[in-house]
């Protein structure tokens, strides 16, 4: 068996919420299990608030699980030595949704990119300019001289996101977590960023965890990879990209696919929503008992779905689903 690069084991994440007196813990991730292999593209899809960013941040070591473990090359990241943890943080990089917020506005692009290179001794003061130029070329910002001494606000959204990507790959990570990297980029420029990420993953032999709410995009970036579908802090289905789109098993995945509008009037108008018990998503602070989708699910069975959470089972090789339609009690 190949060892996964990252393994998430029964992870729960909790945040404190509410005001002073009513203060309590809200569990936004519950019993999450995922394995990501070296060089693999893994997509994480789900609606707003389902916990995608939280899981991404947990994987890069920004949140500490209340339960369960995150293993990097078999090692629990929260029992690593300071040195090991530092090395781990270098090897697993994250790029965020908002390139405006994640780049320091008073620093030039040169300063932003030279910092990690010098910090990790991947460049010396003598060759740092050349190394930064190489990075800029690598992410398609050419000629580099045109960008090096600009400030983030002087670049377009797409160019800014390319700078964030350059910064993340500067330290030659083994894995890149990309959290909705194109949602704030102009539609006409998004594909360019997706292709860049796919190419860099291949060239640098990285794993790519791509987080999005858009299944259509995921299909392009994660070709040949796998997807996990999240709903209210749980993973409900995992399968290869092709399987998941052609043969979705979980009623929630089926709903996502049925609801997604498409850029084709005939196709999109022929898509109908299944009859839902309720349109609205329950609050994560008060998740329904049993299967969390039970309050909306068209296949809801009283006494079962609202009682016990369904186990994750492998229905076909590599195709996992957590739903009582497929599991035996």
């Amino acid at each position: 068996m190949v060892q996964p690069l990252v393994k998430v084991e029964h992870v729960a994440i909790e945040f404190r919420s509410g005001r002073f007196l009513s203060r309590r813990r809200v569990r936004v991730l519950d019993d999450i299990n995922v394995e990501i292999y070296e060089g693999e593209t893994f997509g994480l899809v789900g609606e707003s608030g389902s916990g995608k960013t939280t899981l991404g941040k947990t994987i890069v070591g920004l949140y500490r699980p209340a339960e369960g473990r995150v293993l990097y090359r078999g090692k629990d990241i929260w029992s690593m030595s300071k040195e090991e943890f530092r090395e781990f943080r270098k090897q697993v990089q994250m790029i965020h949704q908002d390139p405006y917020a994640s780049l320091n506005p008073v620093h030039t692009i040169f300063r932003i990119l030279s910092k990690p290179l010098l910090k990790y001794k991947l460049a010396t003061p003598d060759d740092v300019e050349e190394k930064v130029a190489q990075l800029l070329k690598r992410v398609g910002l050419t000629p580099p001289e045109d960008f090096m001494y600009k400030y983030p606000h002087q670049l377009s959204g797409g160019q800014r996101q390319r700078v964030s990507i350059a910064r993340a790959i500067a330290v030659r990570p083994k894995m890149l977590v990309a959290d909705e990297p194109v949602s704030m980029v102009d539609v006409s420029l998004r594909v360019g960023i997706l292709k860049l990420l796919a190419r860099l993953r291949e060239e640098l032999g990285m794993s790519l965890l791509y987080i999005t709410h858009d299944l259509a995009t995921l299909r392009y970036i994660a070709k040949g990879g796998r997807i996990a579908v999240m709903y209210l802090g749980k993973i409900v289905e995992i399968a290869s990209v092709e399987e998941l789109i052609e043969k979705p098993l979980h009623p929630y995945t089926q709903l996502l696919l049925a609801a997604l509008p498409e850029p084709d009037p005939k196709v999109t108008r022929s898509k109908k929503l299944p009859k839902l018990r309720s349109i609205d998503i329950p609050s994560i602070a008060n998740p329904p008992p049993g299967c969390r989708f039970n309050t909306r699910c068209p296949y809801y069975k009283a006494g079962l779905c609202d009682r016990e959470p369904p186990p994750m089972i492998e229905v076909e090789k590599g195709h996992w689903v957590a739903c009582w339609l497929y599991a035996k009690r």
Partner: protein, 328 residues
């Protein structure tokens, strides 16, 4: 075909903002007709001037904005009225009662300390003067049912007790309260989950059927335009680049920008190759000479670098602003 079917006719409209670096040319020479009972999609990327155009029609532009020229003829009350020339006092007769605007990001427009019920009552009072509160609430219940909400629960709630999707649907009901003939929806579904989004689009379709309300649907998302609109206008850098029936625009795009945009959108099934448009949108303060799209256009010719092509009708109902289709 114009004349009696027309509800709004915009001609040669130019709107600018004064910013520190200079004049932002947000709406450039826009001419657009909207017909009774249709859903017109106004599609363009961020900063292309969609919201500015909506605010201009409603005369709700901020103080640093200026209508340089053009007319906005409204035909809803029989004879043509040029909204662009009306005073603030005069426009009030039209705003909300004749033409309503559901603002972009308006989910946050509710007053947090007022129950939803009072939002309905206040809106009616502000425009109709003295009203029978029970009548208003009866109407509100009907409208809330139409947008698939539980009327009594929603009316009792404070805004923060509703989810984003519920707020967005409530807002639609509120915008419909005064039965406007034309409603402008600025990104009505952005920031919503895909299920709420689909529900809202289906609701809008029902509203159109029920009340034959005319709608302008503003979106940057081609898929949403595909879902609901009858005709589509494509905007780029403040200008309308192409107008046509929804199927014409999607299955037979003419303007190179429309083609590029369609090519850039991933689809769920099939083998479509996706590609982005090279370059990035221009600075509206310092526009390139000629056609604003020419620096990114694969077909750019000498003339495109010098002269801005006008929007011309190349086939019945089909308008394109591109020298490829315009005879000299």
């Amino acid at each position: 075909m114009p004349g009696e079917n027309l509800i709004l006719s915009i001609r040669n409209l130019n709107v600018v903002y004064w910013a520190r670096r200079g004049w932002v040319k947000a709406v450039r020479n826009v001419s657009l007709d909207i017909y009774r009972g249709e859903v017109l999609g106004l599609v363009g990327e961020s900063g292309s001037g969609k919201t500015t155009l909506a605010l201009t029609v409603m005369k709700l532009l901020p103080t640093n904005a200026k209508i340089l020229s053009g007319s906005i003829l409204y035909y809803g009350l029989g004879k043509a009225v040029d909204l662009a020339k009306l005073s603030e006092k005069e426009i009030r007769k039209y705003r909300w009662k004749e033409i309503a605007l559901a603002f972009q990001g308006a989910m946050n427009a509710f007053n947090p300390v007022m129950r939803i019920k009072d939002h309905f009552i206040e809106t009616a009072k502000a425009h109709l003067g003295h009203v029978d509160e029970e009548e208003v609430l009866k109407e509100a219940r009907e409208l809330l049912k139409l947008v698939l909400l539980e009327p009594d629960r929603v009316l009792r709630s404070f805004p923060h007790q509703l989810s984003g999707g519920m707020k967005q649907r409530t807002l639609l009901a509120l915008a419909l309260l005064l039965r406007p003939k034309l409603i402008i929806l600025d990104e009505p579904t952005s920031a919503l989950d895909v299920v709420s989004q689909k529900v809202i689009l289906e609701t809008l379709r029902n509203i159109k059927r029920e009340f034959s309300t005319t709608m302008i649907l503003i979106t940057h998302d081609l898929s949403i335009a595909a879902e609901l609109t009858d005709r589509v206008a494509i905007m780029y850098a403040g200008k309308i680049m192409e107008v046509g029936g929804v199927e014409d625009i999607f299955y037979d795009p003419m303007h190179p920008y429309t083609r590029g945009l369609l090519k850039a959108v991933p689809v769920l099934k099939g083998t479509k190759e996706v590609e982005s448009i090279p370059g990035s949108p221009p600075d509206l303060i310092d526009l390139p000479p000629g056609c604003a799209f020419h620096p990114r256009c694969p077909y750019a010719m000498e003339r495109c670098r010098r002269e801005d092509p006008p929007l011309v009708e190349v086939k019945p109902g089909r308008f394109v602003a591109c020298w490829l289709y315009t005879k000299r």
